[in-house]
Subunit: 256 residues, 2 copies
DNA sequence: GCCTGTGAAGCTTTTCACAGCC
DNA sequence: GGCTGTGAAAAGCTTCACAGGC
């Protein structure tokens, strides 16, 4: 990779795979822990174990950043911490605004790991006038009417949406209009944004549903030992057309 | 796919791709919204737009479940809601326990979308004796000493960890010992679990760091218009070995 | 004519396995 | 001898494009 092909400007390492980017924070966390224990170097095997990935993947990932290791030895912990921090853009501080200071917004505002590396809660915003002025995690809540001003005055480019789902798209639009180009969305809604704006979502119920899927599989396999049993509701579909699914037609009465 | 190959038992559709499983909850949410508006059928194009994916992907995803659409027409909303619910295992109710009732745990306990489809908060558990008995979201908090009993009495197979990171692995071990086989981890730690136990993690700071990476890229491109400028700290590495990264060596003093 | 279902092609990500260097 | 860095193979995922059926 970094070994001299000539059809790329090469000044800035274009094209780190997205999957790799998503793992860099994991490596960084593991390395930070080693750094705090004053461990000077670490092998790909050890670091991979600490980060919960396999070592081939880790080495491949690091190869996209450059050749930061030493053969026969491993990686210099401090050096890697710095290189990954820089690659992730954490050598600067990002002011973040949280919009929607309910239970979840307050929880995030209080979350320590937030401030620790690269991020700073610059503003808390809520639509409830009664909340305005009340400090949460030591930061006074401001009213949503002033969203524009708050975002631009603080130079916020990353917004965290923790509003109810109904308000999320509107808040998103206003954030984008005010100059925010990265959004972390905790509301269970699909946000639409213009090109150039990144959205990532964190969705509790999606995660639970994925777990339920696998959980059901496990239960199904256990049951399969006893009998070849249809694990779902009985087929009582009231339709005229024939449907071909793997099993289980729709019951007359939908489950709540 | 479902069109008659003969080397699979076929009773239970093995091998729905993980990427598809992860999108089923999105489709389900979009379909539920249509269902509430009493929309009878929907095309792959419309549903894909509502779920924020493209229609080819959606059709491919559905093809793994079976042939549930009608050519020239689209998909029957109610029917699909049922089929996806069943596939995800949401036709049964999953009792869930939340361990660690701080800000975040309380926020999750209060989260409405939780109970609505397939999940029920069966127990709240915390290690602080002062919290025992206090109701959160109408559910009394129980002490961690009784974790084993609480899990088995309630038949909990899905646990949500919202403890501080230091406690997460220990809580995880106890959950697994008590019979939990799926874990949703909000603590910023890598959990190690035996085979057969699924872990999914939700990690605020990882998401923010991924956003920061892309944000930095955007800023870097803007700056590149002005000058070919090193966006990071100056190279003042105190080492003897030569390192070859794309750019940016380590500064003498690490950034806080 | 319209929209689904799906092979086939193209792309991304992971894993393998070993050359290269300490 | 040990461990990194990386081509090459394998697996997984997305997109294309069109046959098939309403």
């Amino acid at each position: 990779m970094a070994t001299g092909r000539n059809h790329r400007p090469a000044t800035r390492s274009r094209g780190i795979p997205e999957a790799t980017v998503a793992r860099l924070p994991l490596y960084l966390r593991a390395l930070t822990a080693l750094s705090e224990r004053s461990v000077p170097t670490v092998s790909s095997e050890e670091l991979a174990a600490a980060a919960g990935v396999n070592s081939a993947k880790l080495r491949k990932d690091f190869s996209y950043l450059g050749s930061y290791g030493t053969r026969g030895v491993g990686y210099d912990v401090e050096y890697l911490v710095y290189q990954i921090s820089r690659e992730l853009g954490l050598t600067q501080d990002w002011p973040v605004a949280i919009i929607g200071i309910g239970n979840l917004g307050a929880a995030l505002a209080n979350y320590g790991g937030f401030a620790s590396r690269g991020f700073r809660v610059a503003a808390l915003i809520d639509a409830d006038p009664a909340m305005a002025g009340t400090p949460v995690a030591g930061i006074p809540v401001q009213h949503a009417d002033d969203l524009d001003r708050i975002i631009s005055e603080n130079g916020v480019s990353i917004g965290v949406i923790t509003t109810p789902p109904g308000a999320a798209q509107q808040v998103c639009d206003r954030l984008v209009a005010a100059g925010v180009t990265s959004i972390l969305n905790f509301a269970p809604t699909v946000l639409s944004v213009p090109d150039g704006v990144d959205v990532r979502k964190v969705d509790l119920s999606i995660e639970l549903q994925i777990l339920a899927f696998h959980e059901q599989r496990k239960a199904g396999e256990d049951a399969a030992a006893d009998s070849a049993f249809d694990p779902a509701a009985p087929p009582v579909r009231a339709a005229t057309t024939s449907r071909k699914g793997p099993d289980g037609d729709m019951p007359a009465v939908m489950p709540a």
